[in-house]
Amino acid sequence: MNGPSEVLLDVQHVSQQYALPKPSVFAKAGHIQAVKDVSFQLTIGKSLGIVGESGSGKSTLARLVMALEKPTQGKVLFKGKDLNALPQDQLRHARSDFQMVFQDPYGSLDPRQKVLRIVTEPLHSTLNSGSGQSLSAQDLKDRATQALAEVGLRASDLGKYPHEFSGGQRQRIAIARALITRPSLIVADEPVSALDVSVQAQVLNLMMDLQDRFGLSYLFVSHDLAVVNLMCDDVIVLQHGQVVEAGSADDIFQRPQHSYTQALLSAIPGLSH
């Protein structure tokens, strides 16, 4: 369907095992299979939703894509490069092209840092150290101001601390931090589930606007099927670490084939009327 040049992210047969604590000194350590033989592709400018219940491996998959963990088997190819085969300094540099937004806007921003430092953090850690190129204080400030403006915050917010913002504004700061390196991919792990309904709509609209403007791709992890339906072109449904159903969002939500997908859909409250 798509030429290989259009594929941004190519996840090939990844599995991830974690060792369980040994029940005793002499016993063999058990393993838990968090993700098992998962494959998917994400095209440039498109969004892919990962749905499933707690423990289904959604967040593990997000961490694997972000190269925060090495898979026990399989490969994660980003723009054709195997992230886990890259040397540390090159990986660090490559990270500017894929960023993450977390669920909890209270836990994901350092309470002791001002917004300027928080938002420019990816520039410090990827550009300055990776390529040897460094940015002046004024450059950093300009980039941060621009990133804040893109998410609807003001330059005067740069000098504030996270506690001075509401949950929705904090999630905007987290998105500005992800945007500042102009990434091709943003991995968003339950980005709106901690927000109130009236604020959630603002953040979802913002994410869609940013996608239209910058041609971003989202890997969107969520348990909320209505949100995934709105945000994503394609969906994979995970159960016990395995993909039980994959396809276009329309197919999955209109014509679910797997019994687990059907169960997830029928469990949404308020639909039986």
């Binding site: 509401s166 309904v197 009236s198 209505a226 949100v227 339906n229 945000m231």
Partner: protein, 348 residues
């Protein structure tokens, strides 16, 4: 609510809660009124900080000492706000019970679950340990905990989230209370488990004929679970109606915004959601009047200065139904705390 001359099961009148904070004394609940009879199911919906949990805690008498309660809360005609702690203890768990959001923190990790179910039975009904244990098993079977007999001696960490919430429900129901307050009982659970737990609560409430006060931020959930909904914003009830009516017609601009902002299945990919401008105000920034004023498209100066009165919203469809059935018109069905609701309806 059915008009009735009998003493209501629960009557809350002009309930206000003031909190002593570093910002001075703040009024966190600003006059909540409602009444419930046995068998009524009432939902409290609203966003974080709107006062829904505070209302529940005030009824249960579980507010911190620094909270000042005024107004009236009466359970079966008995005033609770003036009651001593000891007297309240006799009611809590016996006549009124509460289920919390997070079953892991609500259960004691150091005691097997049967002991935790037996505690209210020993305390309120004077049961001895062995009959309390036998009753605990019956209760666990009633909440459909699989393999209940084997699990009596389990500790909370050995159970899944859904199983723990079943244990919480069995504790709440142990003494057959008159009223059950459930504060976001399934928010921490996966959707498929949520569905089972909600069905269980619905079934048990109907079987025992108790009153259910359900707190949630999930509109869809309310639709399935309760007959009547109160929408809260900024410490006040802004709209109150039967669930059916509310899903048909919203009168308050906040309720309208809340319904419109929900992502719903079947929306076309990329559809922009309607939003409510601004953020939920912090409690120390609440205006004298309507807390929604800053975000409202229909705001007038008077809205900021005084809390708008509750106004009755006649529901035409319902009136016709009532007339057809030869019933008198029910006047207390739909209330809204907004002076502009009629204009708004015309503009929508």
């Amino acid at each position: 609510m059915k008009p009735s001359n009998a003493t209501p099961l629960l009557s809350v009148r002009n309930l206000r809660v003031a909190l002593q904070t570093s910002h001075g004394q703040l009024e966190a609940l600003r006059g909540v009124d409602f009444e419930m009879q046995r068998g009524d199911t009432l939902g409290l919906i609203g966003e974080s900080g709107c006062g829904k949990s505070l209302t529940a805690l005030a009824i249960m008498g579980l507010l911190p000492d620094r909270a000042k309660v005024s107004g009236s809360i009466a359970l079966n005609g008995t005033e609770l706000t003036q009651m001593s702690d000891a007297a309240l203890c006799n009611l809590r768990g016996a006549r009124m019970a509460m289920i919390f959001q997070e079953p892991m923190t609500a259960l004691n990790p150091l005691h097997p679950i049967w002991k935790q179910i037996a505690e209210p039975l020993q305390l309120h009904q004077g049961m001895d340990l062995s009959s309390a244990k036998a009753r605990a098993l019956e209760l666990l079977e009633r909440v459909q905990l699989p393999r209940a007999r084997e699990r009596l001696d389990n500790y909370p960490h050995q159970l899944s989230g859904g199983q723990r919430q079943r244990v919480m429900i069995s504790i709440a129901l142990a003494c057959q209370p008159d009223i059950l307050i459930a504060d976001e009982p399934t928010t921490a659970l996966d959707v498929t488990v949520q569905k089972e737990v909600l069905a269980l609560i619905r079934q048990l409430v109907a079987e025992d004929g108790m009153g259910l006060l359900l707190i949630s931020h999930d509109l869809g959930l309310m639709r399935d679970q309760v007959e009547r909904v109160m929408v809260m914003y900024g410490g006040a009830v802004v709209e109150s109606a039967s669930t059916q009516e509310l899903f048909g017609m919203r009168a308050h601009p906040y309720t309208q915004g809340l319904f419109a902002a929900r992502p719903r299945l079947g929306l076309k990919r990329g559809t922009r959601l309607q939003t409510i401008a601004g953020n939920v105000p912090e409690i120390f920034n609440w205006p004298q009047g309507c807390a929604f004023a800053e975000r409202c498209a229909f705001v007038k100066d008077s809205c900021r200065q005084v809390m708008p009165q509750l106004e009755s919203v006649p529901d035409t469809a319902h009136d016709i139904d009532a007339k057809d059935a030869g019933q008198p018109r029910r006047v207390d069905e739909h209330w809204v705390r907004c002076p502009a609701w009629q204009k708004m309806e015309a503009s929508v």
